[in-house]
């Protein structure tokens, strides 16, 4: 039997509306898997099903080899031994920080409970706040107490529901770092929900991208970026240029050149997705494109170009440059395209 969490073809409905469709995934102990997708894609519902907060309609959930949901079984959340970190942290306002962390430790003796709570608080850097009350803490501190509380009973599975969305940008990076470190140090299987691709890339060992209740693609972060399964996944990790074309033979012709489309049949409609950093405009009086606008964005520069196409409306493209050779507005440019930043999908 497999360790960690296994979701086996889960489906869930609210009324007649399917919110989760045939989701299957596994999270191994020590692994951090991110459910990533736009709001309403079913990722939080999947998380709540794993916790037992929602009764599953179809499919099975097994936890460390034990069936906890499905086939007529529903183990309530209090018997699953999972930790849950909430978007609003959900600290109990009537208990102080230490009381919150001790809450899930009923099986221990009082001194052991206290010791474990203080250890956990020290781990998340909140050791000095044991006697403080939740309303006295900042958002970041509440998040850390929430993490300590969820981890204190040593759960076999941690579930994180948008745990950083309430924090401001600068604090978020730091807390993200610390959270990942604590989770890894505890070696717990973790399933985390987020809508922020950068956060998912940063935290996750693997990412499952969800849309309309389905897992569209599940892989290591770098692979999702380099080998997206469709235009939706490609577009999710940043703005892309999308061109439509027809397959001729084994390739497609676009204003950016000819790209191989060996998977698609002759004559099929195709979508060509090009990442902005894959296009490099080079000043060239004979070039096919005209620079419309140049916007320095700090580390990189966004360049908008227009390519004239015979017998068709001109095509607007966005390029992202990090080098020093930046063309000026109104320049005529030639476009160099990096083949590994171009993806051809059925249209």
């Amino acid at each position: 039997m497999s360790e960690g969490l296994v979701l086996d073809t889960l489906s869930h409905f609210y009324g007649d509306k399917a919110v989760v469709r045939e989701v299957s995934l596994t999270v191994a102990p020590g692994e951090l898997l991110c459910l990533l997708g736009p709001s309403g894609c079913g990722k939080t519902t999947t998380l709540r099903i794993a916790a037992g907060l929602e009764e599953v309609r179809q499919g099975r959930v097994t936890l460390d080899g034990r069936l906890v949901s499905g086939d007529g079984v529903h183990i309530p959340p209090e018997h699953r031994h999972v930790g849950f970190l909430f978007q609003d942290y959900a600290l109990f306002p009537h208990l102080n920080v230490c009381g919150n962390v001790e809450f899930g430790l009923d099986s221990l003796t009082r001194p052991a409970r206290r010791q474990r709570a203080l250890d956990m608080l020290a781990q998340v850097g909140m050791g000095d706040y044991a006697g403080a009350w939740p309303h006295q803490l900042s958002g970041g501190q509440q998040q850390r107490v929430g993490l300590a509380r969820a981890l204190a009973p040593q759960p076999g599975l941690m579930l994180l529901d948008e745990p950083f969305s309430g924090l401001d940008k600068r604090l978020r990076d730091q807390i993200r770092d610390e959270t990942q470190r604590v989770l890894k140090a505890n070696g717990v299987a973790t399933l985390m929900v987020t809508h922020d691709p950068e956060e998912a890339m940063f935290m996750a060992d693997r990412i499952a991208i969800m849309r309309d209740g389905r897992v569209v693609q599940m892989d290591r972060p770098a692979m999702l970026y380099d080998r997206p399964a469709d235009a939706f996944v490609a577009a999710f990790f940043g703005e892309v240029n999308i061109l439509t074309a027809k397959v001729r033979g084994t390739a497609v012709d676009t204003p950016l050149g000819r790209f191989l489309a060996s998977d698609l049949p002759d004559g099929a409609a195709a979508q060509v997705v090009v990442r902005p950093e894959g296009i490099t405009p080079r000043t060239d009086a004979q070039g096919a494109a005209l620079v419309r606008a140049v916007r320095p964005l700090g580390g990189v520069t966004l360049v908008q170009v227009v390519v004239e196409v015979p017998n068709a409306p001109p095509v607007e493209l966005r390029c992202r440059l990090s080098g020093p050779a930046i063309p000026a507005e109104g320049d005529r440019v030639a476009l160099d395209v990096a083949a590994d930043k171009v993806f051809v999908f059925p249209g």
Partner: protein
């Protein structure tokens, strides 16, 4: 840690929370349904007799009473709320909470007090006669308090706070979003108020008037004492005097149509009021300073209801209490009865309300929501109607039970529940459950779904979560919910009169019977006790209002 797979599946069983909720709601809604069922029972003869004799006066008097009280509380409530919220004049800060004091006064107590003060032998007329040298009642004209007009006056004095509270809250809420906008569009403060704030507060005012009118229909003590024939007195007389429970039920059902109309008005008004919150930001209200004559006029207008609705009757009761012939022993028994009834009902109502509200959170299905709403209906239904609705099914049950026991065991037990304390508590629960339910439900919102889920994932079952997370967080609100019910039970008159066991008296019923026997001074002591207890929630409410000064804090 128990192994998960050792636990049985719960999926196929009906959820216990849902079952308990539905049973509780059915029990609480039963009297209302029983009254409605009376409409189906034919009793044409008595009905025709009633329709030919007293029904027109019941309907007419009830409508006139509602019209008068509606106008009175509308003008009084909006006027006072407007002045203390929008203007500054001497005493306006104190009046902000003092205007609530008349809420502590049951209307029937005010009615007795003023009757004692203003009748022919009372101090007011005696003083006038002494002053002007009049000899008998023929020498001068004095308004007759014991009339429809007197009832309107008395009820306006104690019911206007319903309008005052809601109108004041509405004015405060609008402060930034609309008043300043209208000022920037060139309106002077007074015109901005008349053209913008007042129309916007209309839903709140309508809701307040609807609540006051529900209380008007519920009132039995005042109209009975003033000998004004309304539905409330009609139901009492038909039940107790004519011994016609079915007809009393039919009168009650007819009265419920009036109430239903008021509920609709109130609901629709609240719905409309909700859409008006365009911003949640608060800033200081542009209060208009009133000086000299205008300030004095404003003070007089706002101080009058406090004086007439609270200070004068309370002082009179206190003075009369010195001469009361109610003995200490007697008083202690009365107070004990009232306290025990009120405490038991308060605790019960809060427990039931907590179970219903929690079940609704756990299983927010349409059925559960409907059942909980049905259970809250009792508050709108006059006490007399609820009494009839409680006694009819209880009598049927008692008859069936005693018949069964007699047939099978040869026992003769008589009517067990009818006319018992249990029946009385049941009626109170039906009537006042909504009071505690509103408070409990609102406070339960303080426990976020996240906290609930956190407790569950940390190993607590639903009941343990309710005990260790919800209960401590909302403890204060539970207490105030119990308190509200407690005070309402202390004041309750019509249902108590109809249901109470033989020879069982509470402070309210003794006040009523003594006053009915024109022993006004003797009635003062129990009446004063009711008022003193009634002051507690008013003081709490005043403090909440004094603390919540959204106009002053960011």
């Amino acid at each position: 840690m128990r192994s998960p797979d050792s636990l049985p599946s719960r999926r196929r069983l009906p959820n216990p929370w849902v079952v308990v909720t539905l049973v509780l709601c059915l029990l609480v809604a039963l009297p209302v349904l029983a009254v409605c069922a009376n409409l189906l029972t034919p009793s044409l003869d008595v009905w025709r007799h009633l329709a030919a004799t007293v029904l027109p006066s019941y309907v007419g008097n009830s409508l006139l009473l509602m019209l008068g009280v509606g106008l009175g509380v509308g003008i009084g409530g909006v006027g006072t709320a407007w002045l203390v919220t929008m203007c500054r004049f001497p005493g306006s800060r104190v009046l902000e909470w003092a205007l609530l004091l008349p809420m502590a006064m049951p209307a029937y107590v005010v009615a007795y007090t003023y009757t004692g003060l203003t009748d022919f032998a009372g101090p007011l007329q005696s003083a006038l006669r002494a002053l002007f040298g009049w000899r008998s009642a023929r020498d001068y004209w004095f308004p007759e308090l014991r009339s429809l007009g007197g009832a309107v006056w008395v009820m306006t004095m104690v019911l206007y706070p319903y309008v005052y509270i809601l109108a004041r809250a509405a004015f405060l809420e609008q402060s930034v979003c609309v008043l300043e906008a209208s000022r920037t569009l060139g309106r002077r403060p007074w015109r901005a108020f008349l053209e913008v704030a007042l129309p916007l507060a209309r839903p709140a005012v309508a809701a307040g008037i609807a609540l006051a009118l529900m209380e008007t229909l519920n009132d039995f003590g005042t109209v009975h004492y003033f000998a004004v024939d309304t539905f409330a007195t009609g139901i009492y007389r038909t039940w107790m005097g004519m011994g016609q429970p079915v007809v009393a039920g039919q009168l009650g059902a007819l009265l419920m149509l009036f109430v239903l109309a008021l509920i609709l008005v109130e609901r629709l008004s609240r719905g409309a009021a909700r859409s008006h919150h365009t911003t949640t930001r608060y800033r200081s209200l542009p209060r208009i300073p009133l000086r000299r004559a205008r300030g004095v006029l404003a003070l007089a207008f706002c101080a009058a209801p406090v004086a007439l609705g609270f200070a004068v009757p309370a002082a009179t009761l206190a003075a009369w209490s010195w001469h009361s012939e109610v003995t200490a022993d007697d008083f202690l028994i009365l107070a004990g009865n009232s306290l025990v009834l009120a405490a038991v009902t308060g605790a019960l109502a809060v427990t039931v309300a907590l179970v219903l509200a929690y079940a609704r959170r756990l299983h927010p299905s349409r059925l559960v929501r409907l059942a909980v709403r049905l259970a809250g209906l009792g508050y709108a239904i006059p006490g007399g109607v609820i009494a009839v609705g409680v006694l009819v099914p209880l009598t049927l049950w008692d008859r069936a039970l005693s018949g069964f026991l007699e047939r099978h065991f040869g026992l003769s037990v008589g009517l067990l529940l009818t006319g018992s304390i249990a029946a009385l508590v049941y009626a109170y629960l039906v009537r006042f459950l909504a009071v505690s339910a509103n408070t409990v439900e609102a406070s339960l919102a303080k426990v976020t779904p996240g906290m609930e889920a956190a407790a569950r994932t940390l190993g607590l079952g639903p009941l343990a979560t309710l005990r260790r997370v919800h209960a401590p967080i909302i403890r204060g609100s539970l207490l105030s919910a119990a308190l509200l019910v407690f005070v309402d039970v202390m004041k309750e008159l019509p249902a108590t009169l109809i249901i109470r066991p033989f020879n069982f008296d509470t402070l309210a019923t003794r006040t009523f019977t003594l006053a009915s026997d024109e022993r006004l001074a003797d009635a003062a002591l129990p009446a004063l006790a009711i008022v003193v207890v009634g002051l507690v929630p008013v003081v709490l409410l005043s403090r909440a209002i004094a603390r919540s000064r959204p106009g002053d804090s960011p």
